[in-house]
Amino acid sequence: MTAPVRLAVHVGRDVPEGLTAVLAALPPDVQPVAASEREALPEGTVAHLYCSDVLPRRPATPYAVWRVPGADAGDLGDVPVLADAGAEHVRPGDLQVSLRAWPEAARPILPFTRAGLRRVRDLPGRLVGEARPDGVWWGVPGGQPAAAPLDTWPTLAALSSAVVATGEELWTALAWAAPAVTDAAGARLLGLTPDEDVLVGDDPAARSRLAAELADDDLRAARLARSGWQTARSHLPPGVAADLCRRLGVRTAPHSSVSGLTAALDALGTPPHSLVRRRARAATAALPGAVTAGWRPHREEHS
C-alpha cells in the first residue's frame, strides 16, 4: 500500500461555493489538505489548487485555479480552471461545478427504449414534451399540445422523443438523457454547447419547431442525448474531481468498475475468443432495430 497523495488547497477569504463538494468527491486515495505559503507543505503533496484571489506570483506546479467571482486571475493558459456553474467568466474547457441535485432515480433512457416504452404505454409514436412558464405540455410533433400535471415532467423527460425546457426542467431532462431544446441562457447556465449538447432556439415557436424536427431525426436525437447527458454529468462534483485529478496528473489507483460486463472481463484478462466472452457479447448485443446500436451514454461500447 502506498501513502495517499495530497492535494494542497490554498483558500483565500472567499471559499468557492462548490469547493467542499469537489473536495469531498475526490478519489479516496487523494487527500485534500489546507495549505499556506507560509507553512511547509505536507509530505506527499503532488499538486495545488489555488483560489484565484490568493494566486501567488509563481504558483507551485502542477496547479489548478478556482476562478472566484470578482477576482481576476489573468490569462491562465493551459492551467485547469474551475468555476461554479453559471459564473460570468467561463471559458470553453473550464471545469464547471454544478451544485444542482441530480434527480433521484434518474437514469439515461435510450431513444430506442423510449420508443418502446411509448408503444407499450399506448402513447404517440413521436412525442414532444415542453416545460413552459405556464406549465408542462405534451403532444405529437407539430400538433396541438395538451397540458399535463407539473409533477409528470420526469415522465415526459423519460419518454419524449424530444423536449423543450429551460432552467431546472432542462436539468431534469438531461438527467433522463432526453434530446433537448432550450434557450441560450439555459445552455450557458448549465455549460452546454449549442448544437452539440442541446439545440438552442431564440423564441418559443423556434424551440417548438426544433423539437419537432429533432423528434423525427433519431440519429441526431441520440447524439444530442448522449452528449447532453455526459456534459451534465461532468459538471457534478465527482466528475469535476476526477477530471481535476486527471488534468493535474494526480495518479490514483484504478478502481475496478462493477458495471459493464465487458470491462469486468477485460479486467480479468479473459481471452477474446473464450466462451464467456461470447456469452457476454450475446447478452449485451444491441437490440434489433435500435438506432443507437449499443451505445450507453457514459461509455462507448461496441459488440
Binding site: 433521484e104 395538451a146 415526459l156 447478452a283
Partner: protein
C-alpha cells in the same frame, strides 16, 4: 417526485388524465329552448344507438379480443425469445437450477475450478520467481540498463576472438602481403621484438575496452573528419598509421582522397581491406621503410603515439619526415596530459598507454625529426567541469569588482589547467622543395 418511476404505467396514466379537461373547456353560450329539446332527443338517440351497438358488437368484440389477445401473446413470446439475457436465464433454469443434485454438482465443479485456479496461480508465481532470478542473473553489476552496451562489448569480444583464431590459423602459412612493395627490404627480421605491449598482448581485450570507454565511434569519426579532412585533401596520398578498421580512411576515400592504411592487426586490416581500402598489414616502421622517400602526401596517426616506446616513436617520426614529400603534413592526435582531468582519468584508464606526451615534447620531437612549421591545435575542452565565472554589477563597490576579477582570473587558470582541452594534435610540415 410523486411517482417512484416516471416511466411506469401509473405515471403515464397521470399524464393522460389531464388530457381530457383542457380538451373541453369551451365556454358554451346559454342554450336556447329548442336547442335543449334537440339535445335531449339526440342524447336519447345516442344512448339507444349505443345499446344497439353494444348488443350487436359484443360477439365481434369477443372475437377480436381473442384474436388480438393471441397475437399480443405471440408478440410477447417472440420478444422474450429474442432477448438473450432471458434466454440465458431460461437455459440455466432448464438445466435445473433448482435441482438439489445439480446444485451439488455445480458446487463441486466450482470448488474444483477454484482449486485449479489456485494451483495455476501457484505455478504462475513460480514462473515469476524464476524470471526474477533470471533477470538478476542477467544484470550483474550494471543492471539491465546497460545490457545493450554489454551485449555490444560481448559481440566485439567474439569478433576479436574470431580474428585471433583466424590469425592463429593462418599465421604459419600466410604469404607475404602482395600489396606491399617488394623492392624495399624488411629491415627487422622480428618486428614484434621491442614493440609495445598493445600490439602483442593476447590477454587484454582492447577492442572491448575501447568500445566501453572511448565514446561513440561514429561521433569520434565525424569529429576527426571535420578536423582534418580539408587539410588532408590537399596532400595525397594520405597514410593512416594504425588505421584500425579503416573507418577514417573510408570516409576520406568517399571524398575522393587517395588513402593508404597501415595496420599490424590482421583482423582489423582485413576489415579495412573489405572497405576497398589499400591496407598494409605490418608495423608502421617496416612499411615506411619500404616506400620511396618523398612519396607520401600526408601521414596521420590518431591516438597511436602514446602507445609507442620512445625509440619507436622517434623512429616513426624520422621515417615520416623522410617519406613525406616536400611541404607535406604530418598529423598526430593524442590525449592532452597538460589537462589534469585527462591525465587523471582517460589517460590512466588505458593500460596500454606507454607514456603521456606533453604537447611541447611532441612538438620538440617533430622538430628534431626534421619537420618545419610545427603547430599545435587543442580540441575538446572539458567544459562540463568548468568552474563558473562570476559577475557583479557595474555600480558594485570597487573592492567587489576587483575581488570578482581576481576570482575569475583564478578560475580561468584553474579551468585551463584542470579542465583544459582533452585532445591535441601536432600538425607538422616538411620543408618545401628547394627552388630550382
Amino acid at each position: 417526485m410523486s411517482t417512484p418511476d416516471p416511466t411506469s404505467a401509473e405515471a403515464v396514466e397521470r399524464l393522460r388524465a389531464v388530457d381530457a379537461p383542457p380538451a373541453a373547456p369551451e365556454p358554451a353560450p346559454a342554450p336556447r329552448r329548442w336547442e335543449r329539446t334537440a339535445a335531449r332527443v339526440a342524447g336519447r338517440g345516442r344512448r339507444a344507438a349505443a345499446g344497439l351497438a353494444r348488443r350487436g358488437l359484443k360477439p365481434v368484440l369477443r372475437r377480436a379480443e381473442v384474436e388480438v389477445g393471441s397475437r399480443v401473446q405471440r408478440m410477447v413470446t417472440e420478444a422474450l425469445d429474442g432477448d438473450p439475457a432471458l434466454a440465458q436465464l431460461r437455459e440455466v433454469s432448464e438445466r435445473g437450477g433448482l435441482d438439489p443434485q445439480l446444485i451439488r454438482e455445480r458446487d463441486a465443479t466450482v470448488h474444483s475450478a477454484h482449486v485449479n485456479l489456485e494451483l495455476l496461480k501457484g505455478e504462475l508465481r513460480h514462473v515469476q520467481t524464476t524470471l526474477d532470478e533470471l533477470g538478476m542473473a542477467f544484470a550483474p553489476g550494471t543492471g539491465l540498463a546497460g545490457a545493450g552496451a554489454r551485449y555490444a562489448e560481448l559481440r566485439e569480444s567474439v569478433y576479436a576472438l574470431e580474428r585471433r583464431l583466424r590469425t592463429a590459423g593462418n599465421a604459419p602459412t600466410t604469404p607475404p602481403d602482395p600489396a606491399a612493395p617488394a623492392a624495399a627490404p624488411i629491415a627487422r627480421a622480428t618486428p614484434a621484438e621491442g614493440t609495445p605491449a598493445v600490439l602483442s598482448s593476447t590477454l587484454f581485450d582492447y577492442v572491448g575496452f575501447e568500445r566501453r570507454f572511448r565514446g561513440d565511434p561514429d561521433a569520434i569519426l565525424t569529429t576527426l573528419v571535420d578536423r582534418y579532412a580539408d587539410l588532408l585533401q590537399d596532400h595525397q596520398p594520405v597514410v593512416d598509421v594504425g588505421c584500425g578498421r579503416g573507418e577514417l580512411l573510408g570516409m576520406l576515400a568517399e571524398r575522393g582522397i587517395d588513402v593508404i592504411g597501415v595496420e599490424p592487426d590482421p583482423g582489423m586490416a582485413a576489415e579495412a581491406q573489405a572497405r576497398g581500402i589499400t591496407v598494409h598489414e605490418e608495423l608502421a616502421g617496416d612499411w615506411l621503410r619500404s616506400v620511396p622517400d618523398g612519396s607520401l602526401g600526408a601521414i596521420i596517426t590518431t591516438h597511436v603515439l602514446e602507445h609507442l616506446e620512445l625509440d619507436d616513436m622517434i623512429e616513426l617520426l624520422e621515417l615520416a619526415a623522410v617519406k613525406l614529400g616536400p611541404d607535406s603534413v604530418f598529423i598526430s592526435e593524442t590525449p592532452n596530459p597538460a589537462s589534469l582531468i585527462v591525465l587523471g582519468n582517460s589517460y590512466l584508464l588505458d593500460p596500454t598507454h606507454v607514456r603521456p606526451l606533453h604537447p611541447s615534447l611532441l612538438a620538440f620531437l617533430c622538430e628534431k625529426a626534421g619537420f618545419r612549421d610545427v603547430r599545435l591545435r587543442f580540441y575538446s575542452p572539458a567544459e562540463d567541469y568548468h568552474l563558473p565565472m562570476t559577475a557583479v554589477d557595474e555600480d558594485a563597490p570597487a573592492w567587489a569588482r576587483e575581488l570578482t576579477e581576481s576570482v575569475n582570473k583564478g578560475f580561468s587558470t584553474l579551468n585551463e589547467v584542470l579542465f583544459g582541452p582533452q585532445d591535441y594534435a601536432v600538425i607538422a610540415r616538411t620543408p618545401p622543395a628547394p627552388e630550382s
